[in-house]
Symmetry: C2
Subunit: 526 residues, 2 copies
């Protein structure tokens, strides 16, 4: 297909392009700085390579990059008909044959785990015959490869092109998360991996793994195997140490952190009964159990051992400790708890008992050299936080005020409140997610700097492997652009066009992302 007339009316045209097209093509999220020239270069799958460039501190021993090169080559060309050409080399004269990837700092961080301070910036120069992607660290390369792959498009004849461009890019927020809940429904590994892929396509960098909760305890602990034996839905609905390790490594290769949440003292009905509070009905135990029992030394011994294991299994610097929605009625029914409250001088302030508990857990986690994230109630109820504890704001009512209060106290914050994607409604709800400005609250410049980012939460009441992926994507993509791109990227009409194409691309890459509205993708892959 060398001689095919191209559609000159569109500056950037992706495969699957619906009639309306953005001047920024199918880029999602939009880079911070972008110069695109009308000139374009032809590529051919059999004459194109992604390679380590001169002077790079990384080489073929960096399997993270090797893997990424292979993966992005496949994303770019893999779904095309060319694969059927039986190895015949095309006769087409191509103009761009090489993408050189250069890591410019001494330590590429190839074998490290991503962290809240990871440098994801990159610089991409698309020129002929060689394009160059430069970054200080592998994390920037991963983001840059995604961007490069999004610049590629096929014309109507199946020829590949990219436009001459210069892109300098970096994330607006360091924390860009997706919360998945594997307690209310078990999610097979394959589904989690698919969504890690989708996260990478949208430049998300944190999987907040809400791994256990009231309904089930699928995490297989080596220290306390009984937790899982008693708490999993069935012996098949479990994440073994190998499963967890695989998820963490799969995520790492995509520049994604995995932060586990072990939510206490509430949301623990699937835990071992002996560390839960026995509820009373009048003078006798009712047979039911409430939150973690905060008055037992055994509780803290158990938690120390559990978090020691969790801290070892999950390499991230942070553990999410939960702390939301603690129901005080069981505590207040229990005479031993009442006695303990009296002794401690808490009166009838159960929030003080909650704070007492959480402060001890925070100390445990600190002693293990880990940092903590907690849901906003822990802050609201007055617990003394560690200086580096991050407060996650989730309650939708006046969340801007909560951000102001948290940061006023000098705490770092992440925002989830406007992005509860489980709360579905009819219509193009992604636009409301897109319209959120996380820093739109009353506060000083230094307060705003304490907002590390945010996350899209897909709680598990109504989702499992059958519907999770289409329900999350492309709705979460709206959050992805909000957290990556510049504050002034707010044109909803342009975003609609780019996101429609981005969704078709996700579909081609195997993500069953649902449609945004009436229309089609040129590839019939759904």
């Amino acid at each position: 297909g060398c001689g095919c007339r191209s559609r000159q009316d569109l500056l950037l045209l992706s495969p699957g392009t619906p009639p309306a097209s953005s001047p920024f093509g199918s880029l999602w999220p939009l880079p911070q700085s972008l110069r695109v020239s009308p000139e374009r270069f032809r590529l051919a799958p059999d004459q194109f390579q992604i390679v380590h460039g001169p002077g790079s501190s990384a080489g073929s021993s960096c399997s993270l990059l090797e893997d990424a090169f292979r993966r992005y080559y496949e994303y770019m060309f893999g779904y095309s008909k060319w694969q059927n050409r039986d190895g015949k080399k095309s006769l087409c004269e191509t103009e761009l044959s090489l993408l050189q990837v250069i890591i410019t700092s001494k330590d590429s961080e190839c074998d490290k785990f991503p962290s809240i301070t990871s440098d994801e910036a990159y610089h991409l120069q698309v020129s002929k015959p060689t394009s160059v992607l430069k970054a200080d660290k592998v994390w920037g390369v991963l983001r840059g490869l995604e961007t490069f792959s999004q610049l590629l498009y096929e014309d109507d004849c199946g020829s590949y092109f990219v436009h001459e461009s210069v892109i300098s890019d970096f994330p607006r927020f360091a924390y860009r998360g997706i919360l998945l809940d594997t307690s209310r429904h078990f999610l097979p590994l394959k589904i989690i991996q698919t969504n890690l892929d989708a996260m990478a396509f949208n430049k998300f960098n944190v999987l907040h793994w809400h791994i256990v909760d009231d309904p089930s305890f699928p995490y297989q602990s080596t220290t306390f195997p009984e937790l899982n034996a008693q708490g999993a839905f069935t012996p098949k609905h479990v994440y073994t140490p190998t499963d967890v390790h695989n998820i963490i490594e799969y995520a790492r290769l995509r520049g994604i952190r995995v932060i586990p949440e072990f939510d206490t003292p509430g949301h623990t009905q699937s835990w071992r009964k002996d560390i839960l509070t026995p509820c009373y009905s009048g003078k006798h135990p009712s047979g039911s159990y409430g939150p973690i029992n905060p008055i037992l030394n055994a509780t803290y011994d158990f938690m120390m051992k559990l978090f020691e294991e969790v801290g070892n299994v999950f390499p991230d610097d942070y553990i999410h400790l939960g702390g939301d929605e603690v129901d005080f009625s069981c505590w207040s029914s229990n005479p031993d708890v009442t006695e303990f409250m009296k002794k401690k001088g808490f009166g009838f302030w159960y929030s003080k008992l909650e704070s007492y508990y959480v402060e001890k857990i925070l100390e445990i986690v600190t002693s293990l050299n880990k940092k903590s994230i907690i849901w906003q109630e822990v802050f609201d109820d007055g617990a003394k936080l560690q200086p580096d504890t991050i407060v996650e704001v989730w309650k939708k009512f006046l969340y801007q005020l909560e951000l102001a209060r948290v940061t006023k106290q000098g705490h770092q914050a992440i925002l989830a409140a406007p992005w509860y994607l489980d709360l579905i409604s009819y219509g193009e709800d992604w636009k409301s997610y897109y319209g959120v400005e996380p820093l739109n609250f009353m506060g000083s410049k230094s307060q705003k700097e304490l907002v590390l980012g945010g996350e899209a939460c897909l709680w598990g009441e109504y989702v499992d492997g059958t519907n999770l992926t289409p329900r999350l994507w492309p709705r979460a993509s709206a959050v992805g652009e909000r957290l990556w791109s510049s504050k002034n990227v707010t044109d909803i009409s342009d975003a609609s066009k780019r996101l429609t194409q981005h969704r078709c691309r996700m579909l081609r890459r195997g993500i069953a992302a649902q449609p945004l509205f009436v229309g089609y993708c040129t590839t019939l892959e759904q």
Copy 2:
């Protein structure tokens, strides 16, 4: 697994049973009459057969039944581990080895198409060593096989059982439909077939195929190939005559009618421009087009030929003619239409012009020996309907009043209004679908008899192959039971338990039905 202790605490236990269990097991929709004994019979896949029984008017030449026997054998045993036993016959002594299927009337209707008057009643006696399924027609056999397969359950050791039972069953309503919209998004054949499977699992019997609309015209007409060439999203987004034939036959084998909708005069933006009304801006055509042009003879010539083809391609007695949401603004802008209105003495009553048009289309369809279904506006706007025209009530506001008005005029009606499943919301919305009583309107007994049934509509704005199946199931199952089972089957708590198991069964049979709420299926198939 002969010697395994069974869970005696549950009368009927299906594979995938969650803790809570209904006395009616996993039956969905609930049969009209059902006697289950505590006694149960063991079955084994390699010692069980579904066969034509003595005196049946159908035999091995009836491929509809042969196909159904094979299919239901697979549903009952196919997902089990036994397939890995490499043909070794089990040594287990089984008690039930035969299901005899007996068609009792002379004409089994094996090679016919189902219709609004099809007899779907059946009688099922589960006894040992032979069970008997009797029905007048193949349609009853199909429903009875589904019920028999729902009686089967596996115990914890993988042994199969059914309880001794006697079931007499028939549908409460003759019309039980699902509307799929292939214009707003194209649906691949595979998706339509999967949903026909799911319809059969829920005893639905009509696929209302809203095949064309404003956004695209995927129907490939042999008479007017240009309709499709101009109106399809792309040349790949089409239903060829073979595709349509395959869908119709796939549906017939499951006792499902396929009623095509060619919605006019509105919703026709994807049609040939020369039969649409040119809209005017002041004194000049604006370049845009409105509804079908009702003042041209060419329009009716075209419609005659189109419906002649459609009537031949689709064997059902009915064609859905649409007639909803006609926008009068374009008609009123057009001077030729205005002139025509004047000549006809319509004044400024555009609803009279609409009625004029629809009445002519109704006459065309009648002349082709087909009957019509129309959306309620056609009735509301006062068109003179044919005596056998069915009115579909879709507007949610005061729909009971509309049912009363339509049936008061002696017209048959089908109800869609409370069952617009595209209008999603957070939570267990199936309960509101389930709670609808279609005959709960002011009217005489003979008026109520005019309500033929109803349908669940999944309009296509926000669904395509990526999310249609989980969004439709098991939410549409609620409508399925409402339309099949007795009026007094309204216990939502019992329905919850049965539907949870029914959903797990759909999953095992390859339908990606979404979860109803927190929980799991024992088979990890999602």
